[in-house]
């Protein structure tokens, strides 16, 4: 009788389909994955440790670099946690601007996911279309915040500046044309037999397993759980927007694909509503301990100059305590747990990374399936290693 042996192969960390530096050790029985062990940490930068030596304002740019496809969402989660700690109210206009930017960012993040995911599977065309639309979003960010990939637009207490003139027209133009573009992607993919063969009934995770593994975001909703932080624990005025939570039923790659497509449509609708109903008023809190004074005053008024200096060099001192605030980022529930000892630096800043927990369920999804399906499953859970490794 022939001897049965498994073969161990390394996939990654330098592999185009692992979306970064993920290393998977696969034990193969022929072409079937018998065991998968993810190895992470290649991109570990010690963000949580770094934040402990920075003032609260200085930690904002660190958050951009976690999930670098979703910088606005990361900013939002962090500033919400600090604002909760401080117990301050944010002006309505700033809240709406935050929602608008977070949803545009979600669209951009999902567009990267769609382009690269189908590229992994072998469809070379869609990425050119998705990156074309993503470019529109990034141009809007560039005008609004000055940065494209890491805009650092949000501030504790509000946003860094109001919309520049003419940007609302660009957002409107984007919102009006985007549904058409989604239809284009769907024409290329949704009924494409080759695409469906690769993603239907692949990488299945059941509802119960998804919950037990701590999976969140579109990956959880693909398994049929109607759970979205924007609806369950609304933040930043999300309760005032009209949108639905798309869910799947089987929990395979196809369901996650459909969920994200529908999510982009709803995000587009939210941006439209935010733009229509954008209230007038200030874009940052008037609390003098937290917000920087207007630049014009700094050069004319000695008090404002002192205030600027104090805030930039010392920051502010929130009360003692601990808070947890989370948002529904493009990948899932992104949370910040901040422990304050009453000083001007966070005593402990813990990031709850959605991709980290989503990835921990990967072996469950791929064990017993073909090695080719590993590629489509990794693509479908949409991991970003910058956030997993922190």
């Amino acid at each position: 009788m022939a001897e049965t042996r498994t073969m161990t192969i390394n996939m990654g960390p330098q592999h185009p389909a692992t979306h970064g530096v993920l290393r998977l050790v696969l034990e193969l029985d022929g072409e079937v994955v018998a065991k998968a062990t993810p190895h992470i940490g290649h991109l570990h930068r010690g963000v949580e440790k770094l934040a402990e030596s920075k003032t609260y304002h200085q930690a904002i740019p660190l958050t951009d670099r976690l999930d670098y496809t979703n910088a606005m969402g990361n900013n939002l989660a962090y500033v919400l946690a600090v604002e909760k700690l401080l117990g301050i109210e944010i002006p309505k206009r700033a809240q709406y601007l935050r929602v608008m930017m977070a949803e545009l960012q979600r669209i951009a993040a999902h567009l990267i996911w769609l382009g690269t995911h189908v590229l992994d599977i072998g469809a070379l065309t869609p990425i050119f279309y998705t990156f074309r639309e993503r470019e529109d979003v990034l141009r809007i960010f560039e005008e609004v915040a000055g940065g494209r990939l890491t805009p650092t637009y949000l501030r504790i207490g509000g946003v860094s500046k109001d919309l520049p003139e003419g940007v609302d027209e660009k957002v409107k133009a984007f919102v009006q044309t985007f549904p058409e573009h989604i239809r284009d992607y769907e024409t290329l993919l949704t009924k494409n037999v080759i695409w469906l063969e690769r993603i239907k009934e692949v990488g299945i995770i059941s509802k119960e397993d998804a919950i037990n593994f701590g999976v969140t975001g579109p990956t959880l909703r693909g398994s049929g759980v109607k759970w979205d932080i924007r609806k369950v624990f609304p933040y930043s005025s999300y309760e005032e927007f009209d949108f639905d939570i798309p869910i799947g039923s089987v929990g395979d790659v196809y369901d996650r694909y459909i969920v994200r497509l529908r999510e982009m449509e709803w995000s587009n609708a939210i941006v439209e509503q935010a733009l229509e109903r954008l209230p007038k008023g200030p874009v940052i809190t008037d609390d003098p301990r937290i917000a920087l004074p207007p630049k014009d005053n700094v050069v004319k008024d000695i008090d404002a100059l002192i205030r600027q200096f104090k805030i930039v060099s010392e920051g502010f001192q929130p009360p003692k305590g601990e808070v947890y605030a989370s948002v529904e980022s493009a990948k899932g529930e992104l949370g910040f747990y901040i422990v304050s000892d009453g000083s001007n630096r966070p005593f402990r800043m813990r990031i709850r990374p959605p991709s980290f927990l989503n990835l921990s369920a990967l072996p469950k999804m791929i064990e017993g399936s073909l090695i080719a399906d590993v590629i489509s499953t990794i693509g479908s859970i949409d991991i970003v290693l910058g956030e997993i490794d922190r």
């Binding site: 624990f233 947890y324 747990y337």
Partner: protein, 162 residues
């Protein structure tokens, strides 16, 4: 005073001596429990039909050096049924260990590995307690307060085993 929070009420009934401290800050409930009871309490919170904390949102460590006991392990739980969050805490001393909750929530597997990796707190009954972000053979636990942010670079190049 009549207890309004259902979770605390049920916990008090089931584990009358286990609630060491209970705080509400900015609407968030934090309960401190002894570390020996953590597994039983988690199992109860997870399986009780009225509470159903089926979701382990987060598990992390905090270092309060030079206090003793030095560490806190913080569990952020979420109930899909009641749409509620609960924070559980257990104090753990240096070179002590705490029971793993991996058999209650699979999510704890990687989260506990991370706490082990960055704080050096070990978890009993964990099926696969290895470093996760740093490599095997790394010395020190970076998120401890006495670990310096700056210092000399390591001189041992890392060669992964296959």
């Amino acid at each position: 005073m009549e207890e309004v929070n259902l979770t605390i009420k049920k916990l008090k009934e089931k584990f009358p001596t286990s609630i060491l401290d209970r705080k509400t800050f900015r609407g968030e409930v934090t309960v401190t429990v002894p570390k020996k009871d953590i597994f039983g309490i988690c199992k109860f919170l997870h399986s009780d039909p009225d509470l159903q904390y089926q979701f382990l949102t987060d598990l992390c460590g905090v270092d309060f050096f030079p206090e003793t006991p030095r560490f806190e392990v913080v569990y952020t739980l979420c109930s899909f049924k009641n749409k509620e969050r609960l924070r559980l805490k257990a104090k753990v001393g240096e070179s002590e260990s705490i029971l793993s909750v991996e058999s209650v929530w699979k999510a704890a597997n990687w989260l506990e590995r991370e706490v082990y990796d960055l704080f050096g707190i070990s978890f009993e009954n964990h099926p696969d307690l290895r470093r996760i972000l740093l490599w095997d053979g790394y010395e020190g636990y970076p998120l401890r307060k006495d670990f310096p942010v700056e210092g000399p670079d390591f001189d041992k190049p890392f060669v992964p085993e296959v």
